[in-house]
């Protein structure tokens, strides 16, 4: 056991991760209270006709499994409630997600609800990747005409002509900010700069598992109104969606969470076995001495 070659460990990890994915098995996720707060906020948020929700996708393909699933479940909830959403990113690698995720969610909703239509321009608008990091947020927060500030969407259409966005004037018309990222320091940028005189937005954040301790500081201080903690947060959010909208099929978040749960179990097992082997070896060494 002490000389257990790592290729066997790799094989076990591959099996633990892939079997639930291939069989599409999902088990009920653990309750995430921070995700509950995010869900309740989005369920109860009231949007005036001139208001929108801003969703920032600041993640790349490397953390798509966690952040992508979070983006999907939150966007689905907003779309189900017919709340217009503006999507944008400060991270260049997120650009393809701004297009693919809403299209995927809209297609799923239309397949589930024949006769109902979710359309680009009415239900969501893609503002694309915006270079400039915190300068974008600073300028956006101080802008007196955010339609003019963004100018055009990712497809070069004038925002003043897009139904979902044309009535929004200032940053105060952004009723809720959903920031999804696993990048170090990205959430802090929004918390520092995305605010104006007399306006502090409600913020829901989706983070990767590794950045949960960082995000909890802001949840505890009240700067975050809700938090989706890694894939577990997305899976719990998805479970609540399924409860409220029973026709919804099992989605990727719950299957990924199950797969990751099996891998975690394996890691726990390996840690225990590793320690037992180490203790036994140490005892044997003492006995021989």
């Amino acid at each position: 056991m002490r000389e257990l070659h790592r290729r066997w460990i790799y094989l076990l990890v591959a099996l633990a991760l892939s079997v639930p994915l291939i069989l599409r098995v999902s088990v009920p996720p653990a309750r995430m209270r921070a995700a509950d707060r995010a869900y309740d906020l989005i369920r109860d948020v009231e949007i005036a006709p001139h208001q929108i929700v801003l969703m920032a996708f600041d993640f790349g393909p490397n953390i798509k499994a966690e952040n992508g699933s979070q983006a999907e479940v939150v966007l689905e909830h907003l779309m189900r409630r017919r709340i217009p959403v503006a999507l944008f990113s400060l991270y260049v690698q997120a650009e393809p997600f701004l297009k693919s995720i809403p299209e995927k969610v809209a297609s799923r909703l239309m397949a589930e609800n024949p006769g109902e239509v979710w359309r680009y321009g009415e239900d969501w608008v893609n503002l694309g990747f915006r270079p400039g990091n915190f300068l974008v947020l600073q300028s956006l927060a101080r802008s007196e005409d955010i339609t003019a500030f963004f100018g055009k969407d990712a497809f070069a259409n004038r925002l003043a002509d897009i139904a979902a966005f044309r009535n929004a004037k200032t940053v105060k018309d952004i009723a809720l900010l959903v920031e999804i990222s696993g990048l170090q320091g990205m959430l802090e940028l929004y918390l520092r700069f995305f605010r104006a005189e007399g306006y502090v937005p409600k913020v829901v954040h989706g983070c990767t598992s590794i950045s949960i301790p960082d995000a909890y500081i802001f949840l505890d201080s009240g700067q975050l109104s809700g938090l989706l903690e890694g894939i577990a947060g997305a899976a719990w959010y998805s479970a609540r969606l399924r409860k409220e909208y029973p026709r919804q099929e099992a989605d990727e978040a719950q299957i990924l969470n199950t797969s990751l749960g099996v891998a975690h179990l394996l890691i726990i097992l390996l840690v225990i076995v590793g320690n037992v082997v180490a203790v036994r070896s140490a005892r044997r060494g003492v006995a021989q001495a």
């Binding site: 321009g121 055009k152 949960i212 969470n257 590793g274």
Partner: protein, 337 residues
């Protein structure tokens, strides 16, 4: 001289952002941040230029390796080919969407023309004459409506989606309404009040036509090629690279996570509780794991993280001052003082 210039610009830049943060928006009529939008746009433009710099750097490094057949020239050739191909497809996709947007904008321009005629008439501006402008508007609106009607009829060979079918029906109804509106207005008799509903109808047709163009663009070859490269290659490769971590973590957990002291035992117990509180199977053992996990994260972990963050913030502040006063010159002085 160059270093002195860098120091002066750095100091002025730092001073501007510092004062902008601490000064009120209006000081007896003087607005310190009056040109802030232009300044920040300048910084954003410089930030965007770095993409170009990166591109030039890649071309220089890998282009020379390929040209002189140095070691690894084949991988450089693959990289440059991938770069050129992705760039071509992305530009093609962007141009196609820009063309579609410009197409819908022609209707929007007519709407704005109608609104301008009304505004000028109310203001008493009659050059060129009102009737001439209305005649021009009606002529172009009629032509544009026919063009849009024809363009929107182009069907996707693979079949239309439910969204597209709905949009076509909607556009057909709106075009019929617009045609009716155009027929009832004649250049000689139409007053400004008759042009406002026409402007609204043009706007409505433009909105639906834009939706059709977006759907057509989505089904276009260049758009599908972009999706294939982005989702099929870029995403898959990026995800695969990161997923390798799972294997290393598992292997490291087996070999390195050993209880050697009371502290390491405490750390391992905490890690196990956090893991069991987050995974679905933890509930099978004890349904209190999520609550204990939550307490660990909100209380001891948050306290420790805050201490780290405060320490890092103080260090960051000191670093900022060193940069501002050019004490930290290593990065642009090439070692000389």
């Amino acid at each position: 001289m160059r270093q002195r210039l860098i120091r002066i610009v750095t100091f002025i830049g730092g001073l501007y952002f510092f004062l902008r943060f601490v000064l009120p928006g209006d000081i007896n009529g003087f607005q310190f941040a009056r040109y802030n939008h232009e300044i920040t746009n300048g910084f954003r433009a410089i930030g965007a230029l770095t993409f170009g710099l990166g591109l030039i750097n890649i071309l220089l490094v890998h282009g020379s390796r390929l040209l002189f057949r140095r070691k690894g020239w084949f991988t450089s050739a693959a990289l440059l080919f991938g770069l050129a191909f992705m760039l071509t497809v992305t530009i093609g996709e962007w141009l196609a969407s820009a063309r579609a947007a410009a197409d819908a904008d022609r209707l929007v321009m007519l709407r704005e023309f109608a609104a301008r005629i009304v505004a000028d008439e109310k203001a008493g501006d009659s050059d060129p004459p009102y009737a001439t402008r209305v005649a021009l508007l009606l002529k172009n609106a009629t032509l544009e409506v026919e063009r849009v009607d024809q363009a929107a009829r182009r069907e996707n060979p693979a079949g239309d989606s439910a969204v597209m079918r709905g949009l076509r029906t909607e556009l057909h109804a709106k075009i019929n309404g617009l045609r009716g509106g155009l027929e009832t207005i004649s250049a000689g008799t139409a007053g400004p009040e008759a042009l406002l509903p026409l402007a609204q109808q043009l706007s409505d047709v433009a909105a639906t036509y834009r939706g059709i163009l977006i759907e057509q663009h989505r089904a276009a070859v260049v758009s599908k090629l972009y999706t294939l490269l982005s989702d099929g290659l870029f995403m898959a490769l990026g995800t695969a690279m990161f997923s390798l971590l799972a294997f290393y973590i598992a292997s490291a957990a087996y070999r390195a996570f050993r209880i050697k002291s009371a502290e390491s035992a405490l750390m391992m117990t905490t890690a196990l509780i956090v893991m069991l509180g987050q995974i679905p199977f933890g509930l099978w053992l004890w349904d209190g794991f999520p609550d204990v996990r939550m307490w660990l994260l909100t209380t001891p972990s948050t306290a420790a993280r805050r201490a780290i963050e405060i320490g890092a913030a103080v260090a960051g502040l000191i670093m900022a001052f060193r940069m501002w006063f050019s004490v930290e010159t290593q990065s642009f002085s090439r070692g000389e003082r």
